[in-house]
Symmetry: D3
Subunit: 237 residues, 6 copies
């Protein structure tokens, strides 16, 4: 039995039920999932500022659960705290952006990411640069709907995403579309119906990548980028 | 129940039993695997020449089985025929080199590939360039043992690989090691024991990536690089 | 006297006379050319699938003629079998895509490739990545005319190419245009008249690069990527 | 009069006096500097984990002082919180790694970074990738001395750095050396004496870049990557 | 007191007063500037040809003044003679294109350069490639106004620049605009008023970078790319 | 009959006869070559400073001969004035570094350049960056023999080159060696005998590329990077 911890790195309850229900349908029968939200931090992650305030709590959750699970998924496309958790624990830690992008590279020549606010375009470009995948990304754009409003009018949200996707497929050569926010789960199915290319929903993808890592008994290297931290050095948390 | 076809793209019987047995242990209980070798073609794939003579048969096997399986794995690190099979079928097709490299990027900053003959070094560099992953690869080298001799003296083979890996970890900053030949299955465990960094065995990894793709209902884009071929255009095969 | 073998890697007779006549006018007086088509394989190469079925016969032709010629040109922009032939023979082997792209880099800052079907755009991008020339390519697109229809209505074909070229010159900064199919020979002159930038016809370019390689007594390195194959390992061909 | 805030993003008092004294000598007479340490967080930043726990306090300090200064320098080569602070404030925010690397590119063909622990090598490579400067960096390595021990035996520290620098200059083509930790201020002069190439001390460089940004009245763009955060969204801090 | 030499590498008197007046307002009180034009050479630098005829005189001016100044700025966005002067002298030498681009990378994710004639677009792309900054540049274009006509109708010039800038910000993701000609000083203020993103005026930026280099006591490496020339080897100048 | 102008961009007579004799043997029977040295300028080109003083005379020679020849080769691996001549004339202009590098990419996976002084290593790296070929270059180094001493002790020179080449082939994966100075003509044959990989002599290669460009009737694009200069703008030359 695989045990996977989903860390929901926001304080808003917006997506709690949806996430759980959604993943229960997607997970392997031999996988147990636990979803934990943070108590302190941002209502949603849309800026580096938000991300900074989410990280300490993410790490505390990871520390608390690390012996009770076999892999961790951080439920946010910003991959907040991804490297820090990898340093802290000895099990696979999956970030939705990273997982989605690498899976996308196997499905077509170039992928595109469609996300929320305007700043998410360059932010995603920055992620692609850091992950070394810039030359496989056709474009990254936002549809100007904030995270917490994505589910308010799902039809509108889906419509915006589809329009943006078709534009990018037509003019930038995108062959695969990645939803650039794990809060887009609720509209993924609607979007999928309208597109002729593969659609990657990052949360489901992360869960499956986590299961795969567990099955392959793979762990992050501790001989280079990820070094085990000295927890005692932290004061006041 | 997932049905995965493993195409063994060589005429040698060298690895047949080993592959089957090995994958039976690794596959999910809900996965059925079928291993099919080609009847015409090379005894092993060590050159582009070998690869060229393997491809038509690989495609015929894929065509014959494509309605009886849910994903295909090509059991060779050269990823022979990868793009052509993707054009031909409507199910996920996984290549060990591509799958191993993308998985490796999630495990550490830079990966290295250790393969068979001297030419496999630049060949792997070429793959990394085509897959857009050059900047995540620390090095790619061969240990000068031909494919069909890898299992003759497993201890020697493992020893050469370990030596090469340690050298690359120490001097080139590799944090993850990929075995650059699916014929190295027999020594994977031995090598793993000796290394302080994650070791990726490409065949197991490909199988698990295939299961993941099936579960995520993902298929290759047919709107760009991969276009359905006209089979009627082929004469004499 | 230089002897150059042109391998026409398709079974269609569509271009046979045209190719021969065309090259006779372009070749140096001290060059003899021989054009050989394959007997088994695709009518035209428009997919990786087609390419796979062309390669064994290409290699057999190369093997049969390798002692009677001083260089080989593969007459197809997909550069089918390019690396495999280089492994097999000890004379220069020229691929139209590779030759055209490197020549183009000397003529202007960025080149663009205009080819046949939609998939040829990303395919050419893939070639540019593998050849290490992505940053010199402005764009690569198809005009949605299949190879075997290029010569049906030459005026229409030329018109489509000119329109696409002007668009790319204007909006993507292309300074040199490469015809992305050796079957475009028949319209090259018409296109050239309409453009203010250099036009590279890949077949003529390949022939001249082959002559140059012969004159410079240059051969492919056999100490790295290209390793001489063991022909005895191939069964059933 | 320019007012520059130096945020010392660690709770250790180790470097407080040194930093202040050092910068007083380097700053322009028309610059006032204020050094502020964080009260909660890591004693030193050597892992992403440490960085995560430093960021909320860094942002609070920046928020508290943002109307009383004209630019901010984050005194750590990890550039912790760099993008988040830029989102929060409307004045220039300088990170030592970024500032040092861009200045280095003007001084020679390739620079190298010499830092503290082994993990700092790949970490710096990651920074160079994200800053788009990988192709100007010859190498990045650690000397295996933790941040808080750098000043214990300055001679030893300087000796290790000089040895590493000479090695990299000789074998990797580095033409400029960057000290990869702002805690190396105490040994910068000693190291400089021993090297034939320019040495960049990142803290001084950051201060001067900050002065320059103020004088040029330049601010970070708020129309793309850096979007003003909604502070009200943060709970519990 | 810092002494900075501004070399105006053109024979036209067009910008002489403007440059001097402009920089007097921008320079630090403790900086003295001297502006020297060349007597032989091009009226303006708009081609590599112009640049070639400017260089010998630039080098003579640099040689004549090198002991009387602490840094040199070449007042042209083509950075003419930049590397040659660095070889010749032992003080910092600043080129406006290089300085502007590196400063721009600290202000936003991608910058764009707006310059004079059509050829300045690819020329700037070439600079970005040589400086290793291609992946931080969104676009580079000319507005089709020659250098010597920029100041004739400043309103028109400013209008063209603003229009081009807005287009690039909107469609190419530019977050920072660089004026791609030091002759645009006269319209910089007008342009700045119209844009929501940072505007970099390269001449002012170069002066400030020069002051910074002096203050940091940094010099170009002489152990690699820049080697001291043998002046005696030059005949006839 | 093709007429090719060889511009020898140095004032030293060192290589005059050798160049002429050498090229007479290599040229096609239907090619006439004319070798012209410059009268003012450097004795040899080993720095950017030297190059700067060579360029005006190179351009004057090109201008004087441009109507009497069909292509121009600049006989120096620094490719001095390459882009400026291309602007000035309407015939192909070939630079030895550019021509050698592009030819090398067709012969093996990675090439290396072996040149004269230490600074030629990074200089060649800079060329490779500007030509967009960095990822095909394994290394570039100097052997610490000045240009004008290369022919003094040819055996020694050849020995140094061979030693460097073998080192780079063994340890950096070079598969093709380029002589990084056209003054190495005299030792090319000796070096070739000692190497198992292709050796590219840049002057012969440039001549043959020039012949090819003439035969293909190709010219440089004038719609982008290369713009026809206004000669009237130059004063005092």
């Amino acid at each position: 039995m695989r045990r996977i911890l989903i860390i929901n790195p926001i304080t808003s309850k917006e997506f709690d039920n949806m996430t759980k229900e959604y993943l229960e349908k997607i997970k392997d029968p031999c996988t147990q999932i636990e979803c934990v939200s943070i108590k302190k931090g941002p209502a949603s992650i849309e800026t580096f500022y938000d991300e900074a305030f989410a990280q300490p709590e993410i790490l505390k959750v990871a520390d608390r659960y690390k012996d009770k699970c076999d892999a961790i998924v951080v439920d946010c496309f910003a991959d907040p705290g991804l490297y820090a958790i990898r340093e802290l624990v000895d099990i696979p830690v999956i970030g939705p952006a990273e997982a989605s992008m690498v899976v996308a590279t196997m499905l077509g020549h170039k992928f595109a990411v469609i996300s929320t606010m305007r700043n998410s375009g360059p932010w995603t470009e920055l992620q692609a640069m850091a992950y070394g995948l810039s030359n496989r990304m056709a474009a990254a754009i936002g549809i100007d709907i904030p995270v917490l409003e994505l589910s308010k009018d799902p039809k509108k949200t889906a419509g915006y995403i589809v329009k943006a996707a078709k534009e990018i497929i037509q003019h930038k050569g995108a062959e695969v579309i990645i939803l650039g926010c794990t809060g887009m789960v609720s509209v993924a199915e609607m979007v999928k119906q309208e597109l002729d290319v593969p659609l990657i929903e990052p949360l489901a993808t992360s869960l499956k990548v986590a299961e795969m890592m567990i099955d392959l008994k793979l762990r992050h290297s501790k001989l280079g980028l990820y070094m085990a931290p000295e927890k005692g050095k932290i004061v006041g948390y």
